[in-house]
Symmetry: C2
Subunit: 715 residues, 2 copies
C-alpha cells in the first residue's frame, strides 16, 4: 500500500467518524431517540423532561464528551459496579502503553526507518511512497541502527510489565474494597451443588437437606433445588409478548386493525374481534403456565443452591471436595441470583465434559470455515487476481481512486462484517457448555472470540496462504520466528488500514447505534403511542474486550516493525475511552457483577502480545543479519513469561475466590447486625427460579409488570 | 544385531542372574549377613536366633520365594503401609499389561513379521538372522497384514486403559480404607503455614498464635514455629558418630589402638589415651549442642506448623487462601512429622519460585551434559568407528565373541552405570527446591529421573544424532511421527539387550546387594564385635519407579514394532515382583507414608507411552504405504488423552486431599473418644524439631539411643 491509499482510507474513515459523531450529538438531543441513546436513563426515569423544539437541538455540540468525563472512578464504582471500572481501566492501560509506545515509535523509530535505504522505491514522490518505507524493512541489513529497535523492545517490555503489575495490584485492591463495601449479598453465602446422585423416586431436596444438615449442622441454612423450567420460561415469555401486544392494540388500534379472520390462513372462518381473540389466547396460555408450575414438583434437576449462615461456611463447602467421588456433589461458587441462566441447566459431570469437548471441536471447525471470507479479502488486496476472476471489472479497476478504496478500505470492511457475526455464534456455543450464569457464558465467549480473532485476523492474514500451509507453520515451531518475521512486516499497511476502518468506525458506529436507531424509528412509525417499554441492553463485554485486545496485539507486535500504526491505535484508544464512558453512562447496564473477572484475560493476552513481539524480533534480527541482537533478545520472552507466572501466583487467586481474611472480617461485621435475620429470610428464597415464583402469570390476577419480573433480567 | 548376539547377551545375563539368585539364597542364611539381607527384621529383633553351622546353610534353596509370596495384600497394607501396596500394584499392573501384550505379540504379530520378506538378508542361517526380521520392518510395504498390527494397537490401548481405570479406582478405594482404618495422626490435624511476614523484632510465634486464635477460635489448637537448626543437626550428628566410635573402641580396642599422638598430623605431641581423647571431644561437642539449643529462641523461621482440633478445621485452613496476598501465610498440608526435612527449610515464596526456576535450568543442563556418555555408547555400537579411534583394538575386535559382547552387552552396561548416578543428583536438586518433606523430595526426584531417563535412554538413543539434531526434531512436531517411525524400529535390538542387561541384572543385583555385602564384610573384618547398629535403608522409590516405568514405555512402544521385546519385559516384571516383595519384607522400610501418591505418576507415564506408540504408528503406517491406517489411528491418541483427562478429574483430587465426607466421618468417630485429650497433648508437641527436643545430647545425661532419636529417622 502506498501513502496516498492510506490517506484515502484515513480520509474516508475520518469523514465517517465525524459524520457519526455529529449525527450522534444532534440525534441524541431529540426526545424520540432517548430510548436509543439513553435507554439506561429512560429506564431509570432520569430523562423524562421532553423539552419543546428549539434551535439548540439541531446544532451539534460536544457537551456529552464533558458529561462523559465528569464522573470520578469512585462514582462509577458505586453507581455502575466493578466490571465497568475494570473495563475503563483496560482503556486507560492501553492509553498509557500506547502513549509511551507512540512517543518512542514516532520520535525515535520512524525517522530511523525512513532514513534507511534498503527498499529501492524510496525515490518516488511522497504520495507514492510505499508504507514499507516507514517500516523496519527499510533499514539496511546489519545496520547498527537496528540496536535502537532492540533497545526499544526491551524498554517497551519493561514499561508494559510495570504497568501490568501496577494495574493487577490496583484492580485487586479495588476488588477487596468493593467486597468490604458491599452489604450482605445472597451469592456470598451460597454454593451451587451439581451432580447429586439420585435413584428413581428419591427426592433431591430431601437428599440435599439431610447431607448438609448432617455434615455442616452449625453453618447450613437452607437450599433450593433447581427444576427443569425451560418450557415454563418459554410459556411465560409468550405471555409477556402477548400482554405487550394487547396493551399496544388497546392503545393504538383502529377499527380495521381490530378484526381478523379465524381459520386457515385467515381466509375462511368468521371475522372476530382481535382483542377478544388475543385475550382468549392469553387466558389459555396462563392456564398452561399454571398447569406447568404445579407439575414442576416432580421435575427436579439433581442440582441445588445451598445457602449458609456465614461466608466462611459457604467457602469451606466450596473449597473442600465433598464426596470421595469428585464427579458427584460438585460445588462451585453460586453466581449472583440475577445472573443465572435458568433455562439451560446441565448438571451431569460427564455430560458437561462431553459438551466441553464438542464445543472445542465446533470452535475449530468454525475457525477453519472462516478461512473462506479471509480468502476473499486476500483476493481483493491482490488486484491482478481479481481482474482475472472478474474480467469485466478491468476498466473500473484502472481508476486510481477505486484502486485505493479497494486495497485500502474494502478488505478490512468485509472482514469486519464477517467478524461481527462471530460473537453471537460463540455466545451460543458457550451456552451449551454447561455454564449456569450469563457472566460465565459471556467470559467464555469472550475467550473464544479472542482466540478466534487473534488467529483469523492476525495469523491467518499475516501468514496468508492455505490452511494447510498455516498448520504447517504452527507445527514447525522452530521456524515460526523466521516465517513471522518474513510475513508480518509486509502486512503492516493492511493492519494500519484495518485499525482505521474497523477500530475508528467501529467505535463511532457503536456510539451512533444505527440499527437500534432504525428499529426505533420503525416502531414509532407504526405505533401511535409508545408502550413505555424500554429495553436496556447489557454491556456486550464478549464482543468489545476481544476487539480492544486485538488492537493491543497489533500495536505491540508492530511497535518496532512499523511504528506508523501507533498513532492510529492511540486515537482508537482515546475514542474508545470517551465513547465507552458515554456506551456506560447512558446506554448499557451491567445486569450482573463479575467483580473484575475480565482483567486476568487482559493480562494474559498482553503477555501473549509481548512474547509474540519478541518472537518476531528474534526472526527479524536474524533476517536483518544481526544475529547477536537475535540471541540477546532471547532472555526477554523468558523473563516475560516468568513475570507472567509470578503475577498469576501473586494476584490470580483473588479473582477466583475471596481469602479467609476478608470473609471472616465481613462475617464478624455482620454477626451482630439486627438486619441479618431479615437477610437470612430473603436468602432462603433468593435462589428460587423466578419462573416458579411468578404467580402473576396465573391468569385472573394482575396484568402489569410486577417486581418479580426483574429477577428474569428484563427490569 | 543378529540373533546370536542377542542370545549371547541373554546367556551372560541369565548366568549372572542365576549366580546372584543362588548366591543370595546361600548368603542370606549366614548369620553374619543378616544385617545385609534382613536389616528390617534385625532392627525389629525378629531374626535373632543364630543357629549353629549345618549343611543346609550351604545349599541354595527357594524357600524365600515362597516366603515372599505368603503375605496377603491386606497384611502388607497393615504391616508396611499403603505405599508398599501401591508399588506392588505397579508390578501387578505391568504383569497384566505385558501378559496380554506378550500373548498378542508372540502368537499373532511375531509370526506375521517373521513371514514377511521386506528385508533382504532373510535367507541367512538362523543364528545369523538379524533381529530386524522379527520386527515390523520385515513386513512388506502396503501389506494387508499391517491391519493386524493396526487392530492390535487398538486392542492394547483398550486393554491398558481398562486396566488403568480399574487400578486407579482400586487404589483410590484403598486410600479411603486406609484413611478410615487409621488412628488419629498428627499430620491429619496439622497445616504448615509458610511465608509469615514479620518485621524485625516481631515474634513469629505470637503472630501465628494471634492470627489463628482470632480467625479460627473454635478449631485452633496449637502451633510450633520452625527454627533454623541446620547447625544443631550437624552437631548432633557429630555427637552420634562420636558416641558410636567410642562404643566400638570400648568393645574392640586393643592396646595399640587405644593411644594416639596429639598435635600436628599426630607426629608431635604426647601420646594420649584415645578413649580419654574422644570422651573429652564428646564433652566439648555436647556443650556446643547445649549452647546452640539455648540460642535457638532467636532463630525463628517465618513458618509454623499449626494444629487444629478437627481434621475438617485443618482442611478449611488448608484449602482457603488466608490472606489477600496469596504469597504470604501460604498453607499446605503438613507432612507426617517423621517425614520432615528439618535441615533445609526454605520459606519465602519468591525464593522458592526462584529456586524452582534454577532447578529446572540445572536439570536441562544435566540432560545436555549427559549426551557425552550417550555418545560413547553409540561409539561402541559402531565398531568401525571404534577401530579408527583405538586402532590397537583391531585384533581383538575381529573375534566374534568379543564383537557380540561389545555390541550386545557393553553399551547398555555403560549406559546403566551412568544412569545410576542420576537419582542421587536429582535428589540433591529436589532438596534445594524448597520441599519440606522427604516424601515430596523423593516424588519430585522420581519425576525428574523419569523425565531424564525417558529422554536420554529413549529419545537421545533412538534419535541417535547430535543434540542440535534432536532439538531440531522436537521443535518440528509435524515430523516427529516420521522421524520416530524411521529411527525407533531399528533400535529394537539395542533395547532388547538393554532390557535384559539393565532390567534383569538390575533386579537380581538389587536382591544380591553387593555393595552393602562388601561393606558388611569389611566392618566385620575390622571390628571384633558388632556394635549392634543396623541401618535399615529407606525404600528408594525415586530410582526404582522410573526404572519400572521406562521398561513399560519400551514395552508399549515396541509392542507391535518388535514384539520380540515383550517376553523379556514380562520376565523382568515377574522377577521384579518377586524380588520387590522379598526388598520389602526383609530389607527396606518406608520411613514415611505418602498414601499412594506415586500412582498418578504411573498413570500419566503409561498414557504418555500409549500416545507415543500411536505417534510412531502414525509415522510407521505412512512409511509402510498404508496411509488409510495412518489416518484411522488418529482418533486413538485423542481418545486416550480424553480418557486421561477424565481419569484426572475423576480420581486425582483424592490423591491431593481427603474429601469432607471422610474428614467429617473420622472427626465424628473420634469426637467422643476418651483418648483424644491425650492425643491433643501429643499433637501440641508433635511438630517440634527433634533437634530441639533432644536433651540427651546435652552431655551429663544418658549415652545410649533414646526414643527421641527415632524422630530423626534413624530408628
Amino acid at each position: 500500500m502506498i501513502l496516498s491509499a492510506l490517506l484515502t482510507s484515513v480520509g474516508i474513515n475520518l469523514g465517517l467518524c465525524l459524520l457519526f459523531f455529529t449525527l450522534y450529538s444532534i440525534l441524541r438531543k431529540q426526545p424520540g431517540n432517548y430510548a436509543v441513546y439513553a435507554p439506561r436513563l429512560v429506564a431509570q426515569r432520569k430523562s423524562e423532561q421532553r423539552s419543546d423544539f428549539n434551535l439548540e437541538r439541531l446544532i451539534p455540540s460536544a457537551g456529552w464528551i464533558r458529561q462523559a468525563w465528569q464522573p470520578s472512578e469512585q462514582e462509577l464504582l458505586m453507581g455502575f459496579g466493578l466490571d465497568t471500572v475494570v473495563a475503563m481501566r483496560i482503556f486507560v492501560f492501553g492509553l498509557r502503553v500506547f502513549t509511551f509506545a507512540g512517543i518512542v515509535g514516532i520520535v525515535i523509530l520512524l525517522p530511523i526507518n525512513y532514513s534507511g535505504n534498503q527498499l529501492s522505491d524510496d525515490d518516488s514522490d511522497l504520495p507514492d511512497i510505499s508504507l514499507d518505507s516507514f517500516s523496519i524493512s527499510n533499514v539496511e541489513d546489519g545496520s547498527n541502527w537496528l540496536w535502537v529497535h532492540f533497545c526499544a523492545a526491551y524498554a517497551l517490555t519493561g514499561v508494559v510489565c510495570y504497568l501490568l503489575y501496577n494495574e493487577y495490584g490496583y484492580i485487586s485492591s479495588k476488588i477487596i474494597d468493593y467486597f468490604y463495601a458491599s452489604k450482605p449479598l445472597p451469592h456470598q453465602f451460597t454454593v451451587l451443588v451439581r451432580g447429586i446422585p439420585v435413584s428413581v423416586g428419591d427426592s433431591v431436596s430431601e437428599k440435599v437437606g439431610s447431607f448438609f444438615s448432617e455434615f455442616y449442622p452449625t453453618v447450613y441454612l437452607s437450599h433450593s433445588v433447581v427444576r427443569r423450567t425451560s418450557k415454563l420460561h418459554s410459556l411465560i415469555n409468550e405471555v409477556k409478548q402477548l400482554r405487550r401486544k394487547l396493551a399496544r392494540l388497546k392503545l393504538n388500534g383502529n377499527a380495521s386493525n381490530r378484526h381478523k379472520r379465524e381459520g386457515f390462513l385467515g381466509i375462511f372462518g368468521r371475522r372476530v374481534n382481535v382483542i377478544d381473540y388475543y385475550e382468549k389466547k392469553l387466558e389459555d396460555l396462563q392456564e398452561q403456565v399454571r398447569m406447568e408450575q404445579s407439575s414442576l414438583a416432580g421435575k427436579e434437576v439433581p442440582a441445588a443452591f445451598v445457602s449458609f449462615k456465614s461466608r466462611l461456611g459457604a467457602a469451606t463447602v466450596l473449597h473442600i471436595q465433598q464426596r470421595i467421588n469428585p464427579t458427584v456433589w460438585v460445588t462451585e461458587q453460586a453466581p449472583d441470583h440475577k445472573d443465572i441462566h435458568w433455562v439451560f441447566f446441565s448438571t451431569s459431570f460427564l455430560r458437561r465434559f462431553i459438551s466441553y469437548v464438542l464445543v472445542v471441536v465446533a470452535c475449530i471447525v468454525i475457525t477453519i470455515l472462516f478461512l473462506i471470507p479471509v480468502a476473499i479479502v486476500q483476493g481483493l488486496t491482490n488486484l491482478e487476481q481479481l481482474e482475472t476472476w472478474l474480467p469485466f471489472l478491468k476498466g473500473i479497476l484502472r481508476l486510481a481512486f477505486i484502486r485505493q478504496v479497494i486495497t485500502g478500505y474494502l478488505p478490512s470492511l468485509i472482514l469486519q462484517l464477517f467478524v461481527s457475526l462471530i460473537p453471537p455464534v460463540m455466545i451460543m456455543l458457550s451456552t451449551h457448555q454447561g455454564y449456569v450464569a450469563y457472566s460465565q457464558i459471556e467470559k467464555s465467549a469472550c475467550i473464544k472470540v479472542l482466540f478466534f480473532t487473534m488467529w483469523n485476523i492476525f495469523f491467518a492474514n499475516a501468514l496468508s496462504g492455505s490452511a494447510l500451509y498455516q498448520i504447517d507453520v504452527i507445527l514447525d515451531p522452530k521456524n515460526i520466528p523466521r516465517v513471522l518475521a518474513e510475513a508480518v512486516p509486509g502486512q503492516a499497511s493492511f493492519f494500519i488500514a484495518y485499525v482505521v476502518t474497523s477500530g475508528w468506525t467501529g467505535v463511532s458506529s457503536e456510539l451512533f447505534r444505527l440499527l437500534p436507531l432504525i428499529s426505533n424509528y420503525c416502531r414509532r412509525l407504526f405505533c401511535k403511542k409508545d408502550d413505555e417499554h424500554v429495553e436496556v441492553p447489557s454491556t456486550p463485554y464478549h464482543s468489545q474486550i476481544p476487539k480492544i485486545l486485538v488492537f493491543e496485539l497489533l500495536g505491540l507486535t508492530y511497535f518496532f516493525l512499523a511504528p506508523l500504526i501507533l498513532p492510529f491505535i492511540l486515537i482508537f484508544y482515546c475514542m474508545g475511552y470517551i465513547v465507552y464512558r458515554n456506551q456506560i453512562l447512558n446506554v448499557y447496564m451491567s445486569k450482573y457483577e463479575t467483580s473484575g473477572k475480565f482483567w486476568p484475560l487482559v493480562h494474559s493476552s498482553t503477555i501473549f502480545s509481548l512474547v509474540l513481539m519478541h518472537v518476531i524480533a528474534i526472526g527479524l534480527f536474524t533476517l536483518k543479519k544481526l544475529p547477536l541482537a537475535s540471541a540477546l533478545i532471547l532472555p526477554l520472552p523468558i523473563l516475560t513469561l516468568l513475570f507472567n507466572e509470578y503475577c498469576k501466583r501473586r494476584f490470580l487467586p483473588l479473582f477466583k475466590a475471596y481469602p479467609a481474611e476478608c470473609l471472616i472480617k465481613k462475617d464478624k461485621e455482620n454477626q451482630n447486625e439486627p438486619t441479618m435475620g431479615e437477610f437470612y429470610d430473603k436468602l432462603a428464597t433468593a435462589y428460587e427460579d423466578p419462573a416458579l415464583k411468578a404467580r402473576e402469570y396465573y391468569g385472573a390476577t394482575g396484568t402489569n409488570t410486577s417486581p418479580l419480573l426483574r429477577d428474569t433480567g428484563t427490569s
